[in-house]
Amino acid sequence: MQIVASLDSNYHAHLLGLINCSQFNRAKSIHLIIDTGCSNTTLLSDDVTRLAINCSGLKFAPIPCLTANGTITPYILPQVDLSLPRRYRWFNRKTSLVTLQMTNVHCMPPTHPQFLTQQQMLQSCSLLGMDVLRLFRKWRFTKRELILQT
């Protein structure tokens, strides 16, 4: 399986995927940054708001997370399907989707206008963490892409 992420000017690797869970009636888009410093795939505050995830009924993660803003205990969104673009055949030019059925992903608290921080204002993406990235054994950088292969 090969997944290709686009690199920005800072060489961060970006990926567009689709996310689905029991709270949604259809899959929704998600902009992910590949983050090897992130243990669990995490939906950041703006995305939790955009995706209209109701956190009130969600459990908290058993272990707190260390972030740049301090320690936080994220919510756990259970049974998530994360669909990512997979390249195949014809010199890897064709694209289909591969769906990762995950027992859970982490959710930061949804954005609240009164508690907006500068950092939150700059985020409209989420983080693809090591729970997924560990599936990929070969990593290769080109000028514009990060190619991940199982």
Partner: protein, 102 residues
């Protein structure tokens, strides 16, 4: 359908490749449409940052349909117009060059 599994202490991940089912075909069709808009934003980021500085934009069919200073306001605008949030790619057009520390 081929499936592989991988689990950590807390998260179990099962990989399922796409099939020819109507659900999977619709998913791919939806993805391709959204990806067109996503790539359009990336290739026009400079211009969009100038036009919509430090604002969120909602893009559909390679055109900006809504812009707003906050995500909440953006969602309200989309819902009030009768459109569905899921049909848009929403991105924040930051005018400041930032380095990430998550």
């Amino acid at each position: 359908m081929s499936a592989d599994t991988m689990s950590t202490d807390a998260v179990h991940v099962e990989i399922k490749k796409q099939t020819n089912s109507p659900f999977d075909k619709e998913l791919l069709k939806s993805y391709r449409r959204l990806r067109e808009d996503y790539l359009w934003i990336f290739s026009n980021a400079g211009k969009l940052r100038t036009t919509y500085p430090d604002n969120y934009i909602a893009v559909e069919n390679k055109s900006v349909k809504f812009s707003s200073e906050s995500m909440e306001l953006m969602l309200t605008k989309i819902k009030e117009s009768g459109e569905q949030v899921e049909d848009f790619i929403i991105e924040y057009m930051s005018t400041r060059r930032v380095n990430f520390l998550f």
